[in-house]
Homo-oligomer: 424 residues x 2
Amino acid sequence: PDKMKSNKPRWTVRASEMSKNTLNPIRAIVDGMKLTPNPEKPMIALSIGDPTVFGNLPTDDTVLQAMKEAIDSYKYNGYAPSVGYQKSREAVANFYSRAEAPLESKDVILASGCSQAIELAISVLCNPGDNILVPCPGFSLYKTLAVSMGIQVKLYNLLPEKSWEIDLQHLESLIDEKTACVIVNNPSNPCGSVFTKDHLQKIISVASRNCVPILADEIYGDMVFPGRDFYPMAHLSSDVPILSCGGLAKRWLVPGWRMGWILIYDSNNIFGNEIREGLVKLSQRILGPCTVVQGALESILNNTPMEFYQSTVSFLKSNSEICFSELSTVPGLNPVMPSGAMYIMVGIEMEQFPEFQNDVEFTERLVTEQSVFCLPATAFEYPNFFRIVVTVPEEMMVEACVRIREFCARHYRPHSQDSNDLDQ
Amino acid sequence: PDKMKSNKPRWTVRASEMSKNTLNPIRAIVDGMKLTPNPEKPMIALSIGDPTVFGNLPTDDTVLQAMKEAIDSYKYNGYAPSVGYQKSREAVANFYSRAEAPLESKDVILASGCSQAIELAISVLCNPGDNILVPCPGFSLYKTLAVSMGIQVKLYNLLPEKSWEIDLQHLESLIDEKTACVIVNNPSNPCGSVFTKDHLQKIISVASRNCVPILADEIYGDMVFPGRDFYPMAHLSSDVPILSCGGLAKRWLVPGWRMGWILIYDSNNIFGNEIREGLVKLSQRILGPCTVVQGALESILNNTPMEFYQSTVSFLKSNSEICFSELSTVPGLNPVMPSGAMYIMVGIEMEQFPEFQNDVEFTERLVTEQSVFCLPATAFEYPNFFRIVVTVPEEMMVEACVRIREFCARHYRPHSQDSNDLDQ
Ligand SMILES: Cc1ncc(COP(=O)(O)O)c(C=O)c1O
Ligand SMILES: Cc1ncc(COP(=O)(O)O)c(C=O)c1O
């Protein structure tokens, strides 16, 4: 006020709107929780979608060997083209190409993790003011990215009682002329669900009828339990153009390496050159993933033994079964058996746990009392559930289930007809 | 027209405005050039800012060793925090911290190359409608990123006759209330210039007077010729907050590895928590650089021998001197001697080469006739110059200069007073 006459500039540096609008719900929720474990029990974190944290699921030695060879070759220290080396793109194309959905190197864009693949795919397909359809419950990054870019997010429902299939009517009802794409995440984080061929065909029909392209987040592709099949959406689509996002993170168990890709499927030439070129242009902003990993890619894809993949999914299945069978006899909890990926969702009958307002409070107290941390599914826009990561060592999984049972027994207050469960 | 009554959707998938607005002038110009070398002369590319292409400037073995140790440790395969491992950030902080501008790990944000560091820095400081001040000639990425985000770019002039110092009056005249930051690139691509302490202090004064933060692109930091000094801007600033962007790409000669960083200097707490938190949030979009490189970072920074750095810059100096002394006696060319980085800019007296409209035509014909490719400086918004990369092997540098001389001699048509040069 005493400076009214002065026009002298003053320092005011504010963070941009975009940075403020980059909201990570997992961080927002977890940071807001009081996570003080019970000092008498060692902490068991079932919350982190990183299969490497406990050391029980190392990547294959072939994968590490490939990296060391790439380093020793002295060939992968310079800049690669921003969409990746031709040879590395070709290796990905060959690995995923099938007669019904052929791929060439030009159909592959390498990116810094599946996260950047998704960012590029959304960025090329959507303008501010458009909307995208994303699964609920679903991986939070879609919304984080879209909102920060001024793209509206519409959530379509998954149905827990139908193994998390998409509510197709709901999906279709959300499509309007501003819908730029439908994101389908199969196998699913957080559900661990794997769609059947039939269901996938129905999803594609919805997209086809409405002329909406699909962004298929297939980062957990092929991570399905023995006896189940994974169908890349593109193998089932005759007209709908599909950007399939994937990477090394999950199947090869090296999420830190930040190697992702977009597979461009466009048999009917609907994307045409424009989308391809758009992706190339966007990739030039930060110039692709680490060249050492790119150099190792061909060998990683071609030489990793089948047994490695098989033993990973067998382990995930076995741990899921342990968790499912333990928790399905816990009164007040309703786990949904997964078929792939590395997660299991557990419903909480909140009305039977009157001490807790919601899944956030429930999981918070589970930490305080039992030192077990599960992610409240509010982080996936899906209250009254929590998500368990099934990559932890088996003993931990078992011990965690025991503690969850103890916790639930202590807080369970049946107050409705279905409370007979208590007597089991 | 015959479908007027039908409301049936039709396929129209367009690339987004943002992808269309992501313009890479280097690509646009180079792709538009007819680059058919003379079949009788082997091609010499002096155009690529990648010091690794000719194999004469390998990185140090310590650097490769550090990578292999990171791989063998099995510790760096999982997710790191999106801003990088605490230990890796600390290693960078320790490496660059000085009494006059101390750094802690919290002041370091790791990113996927200096390119992403710059993207994050611009993204956190600027809103659409703001403007940023960028050097002319200058590295094209600043404009590419800004334009795609709806941020206006104002070019401030560098003065070739003053070793590419900033025209400070011009710089200051461009600042208005919408100016979100000034980008200063020192040492410079494409100029190879290195600002004196005195000049840097004057730049900081301009920023200080006008309360505009500085984005210092210091990716060529410390790459200055023997006898010259590099001053990080932050060491000279008492009030202006500075985001300094750097990385391993150039000094450690591994641009493909995509390891960059932002150093946050904010001694007067003008950025405050907001900018830091904004950077953290933005980093969560694609989750930081490759963890293997992060794991190797401490050892790379601490164990790379001094001789490695010294021999790189000695080589660059020697090659620059060869190039400068050769070309400064070529009638019609005016090279500007650099003091660092890995480039030399050469002015073309266009009026003496009436066959060519501009630097693009000049360099195009240089390829056709002499199989030497230099980047026309139109790519840096600076017509009538071309840029030479001085990382090529010495014999190539010499041979390229001979051919450039031959080319110029052939096309030189003096038509003004200063044409006496011809007789030299
Ligand atoms: C469904 C889904 N998509 C994408 C990603 C991101 O993968 P990346 O680590 O390769 O960026 C994840 C990671 O958890 C995920 O669960
Ligand atoms: C001035 C300048 N800044 C930033 C970069 C980008 O560095 P990086 O390869 O680490 O993304 C370059 C690359 O040439 C550059 O010349």
